[in-house]
Symmetry: C2
Subunit: 238 residues, 2 copies
């Protein structure tokens, strides 16, 4: 599956997660009609990401958000109880979406190299579609309240563990060369972050998502000494 296919598939499932987040926070939202909530909360989330990614969430004022969304100050507070809760909701929605997609695209694989490849490709594609979210997670993680902060760290650690166990399994099966697992996992995560943080740089150099995913997979194949140099899986699963 290349990026275009992935994108189509994603757009279908995005709405579900959004509705679930709304359902979870229903008591905090004063608006009655579901349709109105969906329309305006979407607008609010998008505007928050836009402004925050320019100047940081703390520096974003409610008046900034008011202007960007076209919704008045008073009306905004019908959709969330406080600025801090808005941050919470945004983080939750994003993390849930990411986790769900990563799971659905990688759990099906048995062999470590297949799993690793799928994980890399999915992560790169996902971070492209949801770039504002990924950038936001990265930059605003330290501003979270203790509870959300804990959740964020746990989520991060889970991803890391999955990566490390895949590498370990590959080494045990003799599929991968022996490398420092922690460092390797950390490096992979660093390369992921590189894509969504320096996105504009890659755009100006005309490097596509698919190129970057291929590059990372080729890179890892090289480093781990795997024979299959072709990034894209030819089978029916991916």
């Amino acid at each position: 599956m290349d990026y275009q296919q992935f994108k189509k598939m994603m757009l279908a499932s995005r709405q579900d997660i959004f509705l679930e987040v709304i359902a979870e926070n229903r008591e905090n939202i004063r608006i009655k009609k579901e349709k109105t909530v969906v329309k305006n909360l979407d607008k609010i989330f998008k505007a928050t990401l836009k402004i925050s990614n320019q100047k940081g969430f703390q520096a974003m004022s409610m008046r900034d958000l008011c202007q960007e969304t076209g919704i008045s100050l008073g009306a905004l507070y019908a959709y969330f109880p406080s600025k801090d809760d808005l941050l919470s909701m945004l983080m939750t929605q994003g993390r849930d979406a990411v986790e769900r997609v990563l799971d659905s695209e990688t759990l099906q694989f048995d062999d470590p190299w297949g799993k690793l490849k799928a994980f890399i490709r999915t992560h790169v594609y996902l971070s492209e579609i949801m770039r504002p979210w990924f950038y936001f997670f990265f930059m605003e993680a330290k501003n979270l309240n203790p509870s959300d902060r804990k959740k964020a760290i746990e989520g991060d650690l889970a991803t890391e563990m999955r990566l490390e166990s895949t590498l370990e399994e590959g080494q045990k099966l003799g599929q991968f060369e022996k490398r420092d697992i922690v460092l390797t996992a950390e490096m992979i995560k660093g390369l992921f972050a590189n894509w969504y943080i320096k996105r504009s740089k890659f755009r100006s150099r005309n490097i596509s998502v698919d190129q970057y995913a291929d590059f990372m997979i080729e890179f890892m194949a090289d480093y781990l000494g795997v024979e299959d140099q072709l990034g894209k899986v030819s089978g029916e699963n991916m």
Copy 2:
């Protein structure tokens, strides 16, 4: 040269750069005695980095800084004209120091691989000693005023160009395997950032600076197909 040697060498030259920054901003500083300026501005810079790296520069209030430094609100403003100027001064001091050290440690090399190795090792060591600065650059770059922002981008681009030209030269001489230069340079920078951004993670896993530098050099040797797998140069220059 290993990290301990590098550290010793660095500490000697740090003071000079600090004095130069003070000299450049002399008209903005109301304090007459050089010694007082050095003592307190150093305190102010360190406190700013500490607080900013916890909660962000914007979120740091002058009262926070007042408490951390032990200098009163009124006195603080004798050392810089505004909070924004404080940010400027910090950025300038840091960037100047980094650029100078990187230059002094890499310009002497002729062969691309030697230069690349020196660049990697110097950068990793430097970002270890000046970690608060590097973290600060990374996180606060978007909060700069247009003029400082331009300078920061230019500095970044210069580093990138130097990296790319070294890679290109190595390819031309047949020393390196043919790889996408832009992507490779971007990846190296990503690995640099990984070190100072996830510093606590590496510490908890007992990975030392020297190990990380060796890891990166070995990694690049592998990727570029260079014979010399030994990270550390045996000659007298490095």
